[in-house]
Amino acid sequence: MDETNTIITKRIDNISFGIVSPNSIKKIATVVVSSPELYDADGYPVEKGLMDLGMGVIDPGLRCKTCGGRLRSCPGHFGYIQLAKPIMHAIYSSEVHDIMKAFCGVCGKPKIPEDRVKAYKTRIANARRTGNTDIIGVVKASVLTQAKKFKKCPHCSEKQVTIKLEKPTTFSEGDRRLWPTEIRERMEKIADEDLEIIGMDSKVARPEWTVITLLLVPPITMRPSITLVTGERSEDDLTHKLSDIVRVNQRLFENINAGAPQVIIEDLWDLLQYHLTTYFDNSISQVPPARHKSNRPLKTLAQRLKGKEGRFRYNLAGKRVNFCARSVISPDPFISIDEVGIPASVAQDLTIPERITEWNIDWLKTFIKNNDKYPGARYVITDEGKRKKITEDTKEQILEELAPGWLVERHILDGDVVLFNRQPSLHRLSLMGHRVRILSGKTFRINPAVTKPYNADFDGDEMNLHLPQTEEARSEAENLLLIENHIITPRYGLSIIGEVEDALVGLYLLTRGDTELVRAQASELAIAAGIEKDLPKPAGKEMWNGRQIFSMLLPSDFSFEDETFVIKNGELIDGALSEKLIGPESGILIQRINSKYGAEAAKDFINTMNRLGLEVVKNRAYTMSFSDLDLPQNVTSKIRTAVEDSENEVLDILKKLKEDKVSPIPGKTVEETAEAKILYALNKAREVVGTMLKKDANENNNLVLLAKCGLAGMLNLSLMSGFAGQMSLRGERIHIGYNKRTLPMFEKNDLSARARGFVRKGFAEGMDPAETFFNAIVGRDALMDTAMRTPKSGYMQRRLINALQDLRINYDSTVRDANQRIVQFEFGNDGIDVSRSEEGKINVKSILAEE
């Protein structure tokens, strides 16, 4: 049956945990393993060996002796090994230790008076009833401390000797070693109802079951062997370990039957114990790990579950999927922000199942006719759930049989909704729904405006694409995941998608107030942007200005105002568009449009702006050249004086320090005070130059233009054409270290600006050797910081998600966890969804303004 056709009739309600008893082992096992041999001379599995065909098949062509199934159809069956002597279970040994501490070894009664026992039992029973399992641990601890006080058993008056556990599995009473046989006997004596007091549920876990007499052998399907190219068989680590166990076990049997001396038997017993211990867990600290021939430690049961690559995190909490694709991404500013460009080669590989109805049957038949040619189909699924491959040969017959109710797995088409994702998926905006747009080329294409939520760039980034395969999934993708539903980030309620790069430059140029357009130009811009409106009344004589063009894409009742930017009734009155207004992670304008006119309008607004901005840049062109870094003569000399001034100030402070004239700041020494003053003076120099450049900024300079748009800071500019300034490491100047100097060209104990990492030149002019080193030091430090931060914040994120993943909003608006425990009565005390809010608030004033 195909899963798309399946109605789920059963679901798992709960999963219970317990210990497997010898009886149930016998019940579920199909083979008693007793031969250490795996295969005979012909390479056929040996009967009663670890690869017995009764435990499942992994070879094609063979049949399972138990169920008659073949490879894949037989799930595998358990077997068991009859151990010659009981063996302790290493992982349960501390539990066994606790039990022996709590119960008398002779009479099997708890080492506390009867009335107390009763009280403990009710406490445990209550804990179980309320599902408060951590109370059980508390009760158990108090039972143990109670029991410790009794040197004599309160029931049979037997003197109690402290029982020691030498980890992992060796028990002793006083000086006498307790062998598993005796431990097992003691465990058996304990009555079911008494076990309650240490929280053991005797229905599913009797203590003697932790002392192993029958060892369950997992099915072969759980430990398949692989055949190497040489024809040699390579067995799974578990099979290796099990065959060690069988071998030693057989030897132990033989020695016992032959009446060998006790010492030899005990040695073998311990050896068997070692093998079982490492079979369960090969990373117990006191036990040397069992190794493969190649000296690689074996991966046994515990190792299969543990850690990031273990069963839990790798296979259970994370799943692999079909119907997905991955490729390099590249930008295409001419597609909509909610589209994704998909190469035709991918489009022919991926399919979406579509149900046949009488209305679409003819349409879907064209896909089947096309078969492998682009808009084609690969499979059909009949109403009985049978999957049929469409080929040139089967095509005709399928077309004939086709009926409503069948599914056709057709190629993806323009307009289908797919999921697009970039790792690391740090927030929900890392996976969003896009509409398909088939394009030529071999990469996935996205609009650069949506790089921010994915944190993507185009330097070789790859992204994943997933196709929703059921109606429910497709509906969720369209209604919840589509880009337009995620323009506002739930982190702080502002738009995370906005104009970037060229489009932003274009929009700034258009709206800064000096753009005059004749009718032809104005209409050309409007058409390119896709604005379907008549041009407004010209501002000048048959002349339109840029702001008028931009106003065309504003709704007529939209108003907005801040210090430098005014929109009144859909008319841009004053101010130029910049990053602050329409950029990603800030775009207040986009946020306003979104909250007033809805997500779709906001999406269209971004798209239209995008096209408009690009059209402006296409006509005007934008570039940058080295000469943009040149500064006028008078500015450079001013910068030079500023730099020299600050250097002199440092010398001044140093002189004062030498003369002991520096008065210390409370809590600091004189030297520290001087150092702080120096740092302040040097950092001030950068500020001085920064403001100087800002004052002098001319928009004919392409870099300044970039800064005005908000795409680069004035700082970038001053670093390049001004000077780089003090290189600071952990908030301090570069230290002079053991040799009392930073670099060999300086004198020892030189505390001047240059000798401690002050770079007096900009990147354009170039640095001298010493400055290069200082710059590299800071650069390396930043690199290290990033390298160390990533795993730390990743772990923090994992813990946060794990702790909070079950919290959800209930129908009564409370926030509760999986146990229905109320964490908040209303989310954030007012129940506001941040991604629907206006920067986390409701803008009451704007509601009033609408009156």
Binding site: F17, T133, L316, R789, I801, I809, I847
Partner: protein
């Protein structure tokens, strides 16, 4: 969503206040005002979170995601740039871990109006608070080997600076060096004589005495008065390095109601869980703000509430919040799976599969978001028989 209107007909107080204020200042008529309120109410309802929303994940991501962009640079100057405090990612991790002792414990002590006007007054309190070791108020510590004695020569001038008279020093010393004879010799010398004579022990005792605290509040190594802007008037508060809420509470000049520490654990112990919750919120907000990472307060509130909801401070670790989960599989999938499985097998735990991960594990819809709603079908005539559950042994 409009479907919630039957649940709540009100808007939160803070919104109502804002609305009333605006209505008053714009002098709206009663009818206009009601219309306005209705509009705000509609807007408010349109902003509500949908039932089923996996709000925990959203909040966790909102706090975790900026973590990748934060600096690891631990220290930052506070106030007069004399003291450092942990900030950035390490501090956030520290808060979420609920470390018993923060890396840089620090307090902000508010003063009563009698002492918060001038630097001198504030400094006198600061000096009183700072812990004072014996070494700070003695001129010298001599060993009299012949008599097996330690002789402390007090520096009366230094003592006065810290507001300690020789008698006070003497009195403070007595309970701290029990088992040794102690006597005063004049106003300047204190002689300490151990009961048994052992030169090695004598030396050790001398070193120990040097570090004994005879004044101030234990744990507070530095205290500095700083200026805090409170609207128009400037007020002196004391910033400390080291934290001791209980100790500071006993100082009469201190306005304890406005005194805070950055130590969560201590706050919870001294002031209770609600105060600790507030400290979590304040600290997270201030760190994120300092780093320039905008995160909505609601996300922080949710994390803080979850950490405090049990009545005890629980960290976002496997020992804290995660250990409280009822699902065995959910705990096992986070960290140390073996221990969880073993413990579950012994007490015979049952996983009811009512949270997220377990259902992911068994390929079932998760009880969150669109996986939450169930269809209830009324079947006429047809009886629904529930399969009986069997207790008993684990079998295949």
């Amino acid at each position: 969503m409009s479907n919630q209107s039957w649940l709540k007909n009100e808007i939160p107080n803070y919104l109502m206040e804002e609305v009333e204020q605006l209505a008053k200042s714009r002098k709206l008529s009663a009818a206009k005002r009601d219309e306005f309120i209705e509009k705000v109410r509609q807007k408010y309802h349109s902003m509500q979170v949908d039932p089923g929303e996996a709000i925990g994940i959203v909040s966790a991501q909102s706090i975790g995601e900026p973590g990748t962009q934060m600096t690891m640079r631990t220290f930052h100057f506070v106030g007069v740039s004399a003291l450092n405090v942990t900030l950035g990612l390490p501090r956030i991790i520290e808060i979420l871990d609920v470390r018993k002792e923060p890396k840089t414990p620090s307090m902000l002590i508010a003063l009563k109006s009698s002492h918060n006007r001038s630097r001198e007054a504030a400094e006198s309190v600061a000096n009183k608070i700072t812990e004072i070791e014996v070494a700070k108020v003695v001129k010298e510590i001599n060993l009299d080997l012949a008599n097996q004695e330690i002789i402390l020569v007090l520096d009366s001038e230094e003592g006065r600076r810290y507001g300690l008279t020789p008698t006070q020093i003497y009195d403070n010393l007595i309970p701290q060096i029990k088992g040794n004879e102690i006597k005063k010799d004049g106003n300047i010398r204190i002689i300490i004589k151990p009961k048994e004579s052992d030169i090695k022990k004598l030396y050790k005792l001398k070193e120990k005495i040097k570090e004994l605290i005879i004044g101030g509040i234990k744990g507070i190594t530095h205290a500095l008065p700083i200026i805090k802007d409170e609207g128009e008037n400037k007020i002196y508060v004391i910033q400390t390095f080291g934290s001791n809420l209980k100790g500071v509470a006993e100082i009469p000049e201190v306005d304890f109601t406005r005194t805070t520490t950055n130590s969560l654990y201590e706050t919870a112990k001294v002031l209770g869980i609600e105060a600790a919750r507030q400290v979590i919120i304040n600290e997270l907000v201030s760190v994120l703000e300092e780093q320039g990472m905008p995160v909505d307060i609601r996300h922080i509130l949710l994390v803080a509430d979850l950490m405090c909801v049990s009545g005890n401070l629980l960290g976002v670790t496997r020992h804290g919040v995660t250990s409280q989960k009822s699902s065995v599989l959910a705990r096992a999938s986070f960290e140390i799976p073996l221990q969880h499985l073993i413990a579950a097998s012994i007490i015979g735990e049952t996983d009811k599969l009512n949270s997220v991960v377990e259902n992911v594990m068994v390929n079932q819809p998760i009880p969150v978001g669109t996986g939450l709603p169930d269809l209830v079908v009324k079947m006429d005539g047809a009886k629904i028989t529930k399969p009986k559950k069997k207790d008993g042994e684990v079998t295949a």
